[in-house]
């Protein structure tokens, strides 16, 4: 009761952006999807482009993203969002078009669409939620699942001889002349949320320049799929995901960043991890 006294406009330090609807999100508590949604919505709000933004979200835990973003939105078939977004943008060049895809979607079933949209330099923003697992279908191996990492279809851990290497598609895309901005971020601490939001802002602003594709990977936890508490999941992500998927910009304004050496791009000895 007493708290109500402080609810006054002058005390207001934060409000939910109007670009997010009031629908209750279906994501598991602790999941990175919700935070990623919020910062994208805030960027759309701050840029004043709600009436010009068209989102595309394919199959995966974020398939219902259209219930949360208050912008025109298309659900896409598994893996096909980059093709869908290509046509939206080409036919509506004044709109801001973004895809929001998981790792299974973007880097397994939709690899061709991803690579070719990037290679054509489509003037869109792609947000890539890398949680190293198929969250929606119950925690099976994703192309990004780490070596040694247990999942529903790698119950004894991912084996390179059996399953190949974790695919670092973000680094791969950075080598294509069609990408203008490529970065890897996370949303597991307030500081990282701020950095990730700045990256999303840049990726949307870039659409005004028409210079190619902007790609923001968000290395994100799937505590349900990883079978951990949210806190454990964040810690595990720092210790195991980040060495394999180093955070930071990879390509800015069409140029590889100075610290992105050939060795860093290739990282040919993926670290082996252990989880329960």
């Amino acid at each position: 009761m007493a708290n109500l006294d402080i609810v006054k406009p002058e005390n207001l330090v934060y409000t939910k952006t109007k670009v997010l609807t009031d629908n209750v999100m279906h994501y598991c508590p602790g999941c990175g999807h919700g935070t990623a949604h919020r910062i994208i919505a805030e960027v759309i709000d701050e840029m004043g482009i709600q009436d010009k933004t068209i989102g595309v979200s394919p199959v995966g835990c974020s398939v219902l993203a259209y219930n949360y973003f208050d912008v025109d939105f298309q659900e896409a078939a598994h893996g096909r969002a980059p093709a869908v977004a290509t046509a939206i943008k080409r036919l509506n060049p004044d709109c801001f078009v973004f895809t929001y895809q998981g790792d299974g979607d973007l880097a397994a079933i939709g690899t061709a669409e991803t690579l070719h949209a990037a290679n054509r330099g489509e003037n869109i923003t792609m947000v890539f939620i890398n949680n190293g697992i198929y969250g929606m279908t119950g925690g099976q191996m994703a192309p990004t699942t780490l070596v040694g990492m247990k999942s529903a279809t790698t119950p004894y851990g991912r084996r390179v001889d059996l399953n190949g290497y974790p695919l670092r598609i973000t680094e791969l895309l950075a080598t294509l002349p069609g990408t203008y901005y490529v970065t890897r971020q996370s949303v597991h601490t307030p500081g990282n949320v701020r950095k990730a939001k700045a990256a999303i802002r840049k990726a949307f602003e870039n659409q005004k320049l028409n210079k190619g594709l902007s790609f923001v990977e968000i290395c994100s936890s799937c505590n349900s799929g990883w079978k951990m508490t949210p806190v454990q999941a964040n810690k595990w992500m720092e210790e195991n995901m980040f060495p394999n998927y180093p955070l930071g910009d990879i390509k800015v304004d069409g140029k590889l960043c100075e610290n992105i050496t050939a060795e860093r791009l290739v990282l040919d000895h993926p670290l082996t991890v252990v989880n329960k």
């Binding site: 709600q50 009436d51 010009k52 933004t53 068209i54 595309v56 398939v63 219902l64 259209y66 973003f69 208050d70 912008v71 025109d72 939105f73 298309q74 659900e75 896409a76 078939a77 096909r80 093709a83 869908v84 977004a85 290509t86 046509a87 939206i88 080409r90 036919l91 509506n92 709109c95 061709a112 669409e113 070719h116």
Partner: protein
């Protein structure tokens, strides 16, 4: 281009009709025997005249999903392919039907199964009208049998697609795609203005103004009771098409004792077979199917009461015949005659089949 009489290939007619009918975008992937569609568009450069976007995609998976993305914004977006490519598009087609997105797809059928042959065939009938993808859905399926119809049906396809918010399949074959015939072109219909787009597609994802809630394009409904209601709505739409949009041509059927039932290239051959039969004094007619879905059930049922037998001619092992038999309730002799693997039957062998199998 204004009204003109020109000699052109069927595939070229599709491309020129797309430009002339105010199509906003075409996305395709090369495959014989229909690559001339995209080749003509690329040579015509409509982006410099009408503003139409043309893009070669990395696969048919991509091109059909580009159709999905572009068409869902309420624009007129089309693609074309041939059998193996259309197989690859089936997932996209069921999503398009499920999200009720108007669009136009052309299939210039070639022989299968598998990579098959690049020669013409009509063996994708089941795939086209029985739902090649998953779920209960229908494509409005229209079968041209001349270059002129290839041209004209593109215009008709847009009307149907937007009237019913449904994908339209122009189902033809390599013979009609490749053959050259005269064709009357039409005056250009300008592409829709921004305002017209919003009028024709109030459901489209063209950017949410403050005055309306956000538009969502999806085929997902996790609540089964709502998914059932949605399916009922789709079925009601299909019933309305069956009621109002059936097209066919009945040639010499009034006094006929026997009729051919055929569409596309087979119908063209049957016209000749019918002439040969009439010259012999045989009262033979032809029911040329134009829409394959909706299927002219009533017309076939009526004819079955009047004639003594029907020969279904199709460049397949016998697919359309199943619907003909169902429509006629198997009340009279109905047989199939077909060649396949890319072989086109001659009018003489078709007539011979009629005499042997039906007239006896």
């Amino acid at each position: 281009m204004a009204k003109e009489l020109k000699l052109m290939k069927g595939n070229e007619a599709i491309a020129r009709a797309m430009i002339a009918s105010g199509t906003d975008g075409y996305f395709g992937y090369p495959i014989t025997p229909q690559s001339e569609v995209m080749e003509t568009l690329m040579a015509e450069k409509p982006w410099e005249t009408t503003g139409m976007v043309v893009l070669q995609a990395e696969s048919e998976l991509a091109s059909i999903n580009m159709v999905y993305g572009g068409a869902a914004t309420g624009k007129k977006v089309a693609t074309s392919s041939s059998s193996p490519g259309i197989s690859l598009m089936q997932e996209g087609l069921t999503y398009l039907a499920g999200a009720e997105i108007p669009c136009v797809i052309m299939n210039a059928m070639r022989g299968g199964p598998g990579l098959g042959t690049i020669q013409p065939a009509q063996s994708d009938y089941f795939q086209s009208v029985k739902g090649g993808g998953h779920g209960d859905y229908q494509l409005y399926t229209i079968a041209p049998s001349s270059v002129q119809e290839m041209y004209d049906f593109v215009f008709d396809a847009w009307d149907i697609a937007f009237k019913y918010r449904n994908p339209v399949l122009i189902l033809t074959d390599g013979a009609i795609g490749q053959c050259m015939e005269k064709c009357y072109t039409r005056d250009y219909i300008p592409r829709w203005t921004e305002e017209e787009r919003r009028q024709h597609a109030p459901w489209g994802t063209w950017g949410k103004p403050a005055t309306r809630s956000h538009n969502i394009i999806t085929s997902l409904e996790l609540e089964s009771s709502r998914q059932e209601v949605f399916n009922q709505k789709l079925q009601a739409k299909y019933r309305e098409m069956e009621e109002k949009e059936v097209r066919f041509e009945a040639l010499n059927c009034e006094d006929a004792d026997y009729i051919f039932v055929a569409y596309g290239t087979s119908a063209r051959i049957c016209m000749k077979s019918m002439e040969l039969a009439r010259a012999k004094g045989l009262k033979v007619g032809l029911l040329r199917l134009i829409t394959l879905y909706p299927f002219p059930k009533k017309q076939i049922a009526e004819l079955a009461k009047k004639v003594k037998g029907m020969l279904c001619v199709e460049m397949s092992a016998g697919q359309m015949i199943e619907d003909v038999k169902l429509a006629a309730n198997c009340s009279i002799p109905i047989e199939h005659y077909g060649r396949f693997g890319g072989i086109i039957p001659s009018p003489e062998e078709v007539l011979e089949a009629m005499e042997k199998e039906i007239i006896k």
